[in-house]
Symmetry: C2
């Protein structure tokens, strides 16, 4: 019997590269690009970008903030690094030093850019097509000079409902985007879709697609089974297996009471490791005992460092065995469903605690 205490996050970069290459075929002839913002959704933008650059010839990367670009710059020499949140006084020097490409999303940011232009860099313009998040509305586009319009390298927008194949917003936004391209930027390459839009057909793929969630294994087309490979295994060791007598309570605020005698396991991971507290009394932990995974229900509140689960029906479980929170049999989409959120938020959370032991499979 081994005794362990640390949670372990395994990231399968081979599967990630496979997903990227599969998406590349689906969107062809549109060009793929990789979204590695939020530290590659928490997985580590440096290792993720390097794998895509080295093994999939990716030469276009999207980050949210310039500081995120700095983390990948050395690993993707010569590639385009687009910065989605744009440029400002708090990032100008990084743009100059690393030659990042800003995404300009408002008239005010455009003024800033025109006052601080970096020679040889042509920014992206972000236009509003119906999401009502970042982007120029047509009344603002009307005010742009022809010279200014010709100084961009790409026109982009973003879809609101692309994970629902038949949602009316998809065609609505596509029509808006076509209208804007035709009227204001007839000669610019265009990028409308992220990896949910990748599955909506060539009209939506335009010249370039921003591949993020699907590359990380999330099913961004949930109206049919996932075509992507899981890339994440999150597991943590059992610290204790013990008897829970009928009638006793479990966890903070005593939200669980044993209706019969039970056997419980305390597993060494919690919301501090990014496992949502909303899994309290509803989430699951899996144990690799015997031929197949055994399922245990989380009981009581998820706490910062520990999760308690009911292992009454699992024989032979012992201290030092690992409980699985994300694996091939219970993916990011599954844990997100149980936690009442989306896979993107789960993924963004679980990579961020430095106390994880990280194992990169490549």
């Amino acid at each position: 019997m081994g005794i362990y205490t640390r949670p372990v996050l395994e990231i399968n970069l081979n599967n990630m590269v496979d997903n990227y290459l599969r998406l590349q075929k689906i969107i062809a002839p549109a060009k793929p690009s990789a979204v590695v913002k939020d530290d590659a959704y928490g997985l580590g933008a440096d290792v993720v970008a390097k794998a895509l650059f080295d093994k999939a010839d990716c030469r276009d990367f999207w980050v949210a903030h310039a500081v995120e670009g700095v983390k990948i710059a050395d690993f993707v020499s010569g590639a385009n690094i687009y910065v989605l949140q744009g440029i400002g006084e708090d990032s100008l020097e990084l743009f100059k030093k690393y030659r990042f490409i800003p995404v300009i999303s408002s008239p005010e940011m455009l003024d800033f850019w025109l006052n601080h232009k970096i020679s040889g860099i042509k920014p992206v313009i972000h236009v509003e097509t119906g999401l009502n998040r970042l982007g120029f509305r047509t009344e603002d586009l009307d005010k742009l000079s022809d010279e200014c319009k010709n100084d961009f390298s790409l026109v982009m927008s973003h879809l609101a409902c692309a994970d629902e194949k038949d949602h009316f917003m998809n065609s609505h936004q596509l029509e808006n985007f076509k209208f804007i391209r035709h009227k204001y930027f007839p000669h610019l390459p265009a990028c409308l879709s992220a990896s949910d839009g990748a599955f909506l057909g060539p009209d939506f793929c335009c010249d370039m697609v921003r591949l993020g969630a699907a590359m990380y294994g999330i099913n961004t087309a949930p109206y049919r089974p996932n075509q992507m490979k899981n890339i994440i295994t999150l597991k943590a060791p059992v610290l204790q297996v013990k008897y829970l007598p009928k009638g006793e309570f479990v966890g903070y605020s005593a939200t669980y009471r044993a209706g019969t005698d039970k056997k419980i396991a305390i597993v060494s991971a919690g919301y501090g490791d990014g496992l949502p507290r909303s899994l309290s009394n509803v989430g699951k932990v899996f144990f690799n005992i015997g031929k197949s995974m055994a399922e245990a229900r989380i009981i009581g509140r998820v706490s910062m460092d520990n999760i308690i689960c009911d292992v009454s029906s699992i024989d032979n479980l012992k201290v030092g065995d690992f409980g699985f929170f994300v694996c091939d049999d219970y993916t990011l989409d599954d844990i997100a469903r149980d936690a009442g959120t989306i896979s993107y938020e789960i993924l963004s959370r679980i990579g961020k605690n430095p106390r994880f032991e990280r194992k990169i499979i490549k």
Copy 2:
């Protein structure tokens, strides 16, 4: 007008030290100790531990994992660093090198310790009193030899419902703890309470209290107004202010539709920065316009990097102004209430994204 893109996290370590010193008075003559696990709840265990060591003479620190102890070791030379999740094969070398004190919570971990004892280190024993998380049950304590029992330095347990002053679990756990101390460890100093138990009176404070949440400004005694100072300001710049015509939708899945013409602001922070997606359509953003804070409701889904809010009633708001998500007027407890969770989970999330600009006030 300035243009900015990065979210900013301000941490007021002076207020934190004040909270610690105030708690120290409340629990006296019990000895205070500081909980800096989970990277000091995401705030940075190194700067937090150093401030407590230098300015409040704190000499006892609790982390969850040995790797977390490494981050503070250089800043708290000579202090006791207790490791709550205990010791195992994956941390033994760190215990030897840094002389951390393990918390032993199961018979199996005790066997591991007895096989790998580190000379001069006396571990803590964690006993079960009703939380049914980590800790020895009495049937396991019965099996300990006298020699073994005398080799611990401290006996600890943890309360389940200490944030509810009159919860029956409090007296139930206290009685269990007294029984165990008297029967098994009559000569050991004892530690039962964290910062919620600190307010339950001297019986609960025993010899030492583990101060965490309250020190970070959370109200751990929510049956009366908070006596602690807020230590966190989280703000992010407005990237765009724009018109939202009546009938248009906002954000992913089009969950918000404007019933009248609106003015909206897009603020540069999202769940990637730790702001829960459960704030979608219910959370608030505050703007420091004029004499007092103006409140804007979050509309549509919180996305990874951006939050959209209704600023129709806020005059003079402009791009580059900052929206506040946590501040003295809207604390961790307030945002947790709106997000449907507890302040601890909010705090644990928001510090973890390296794209924040961090400002330490000390």
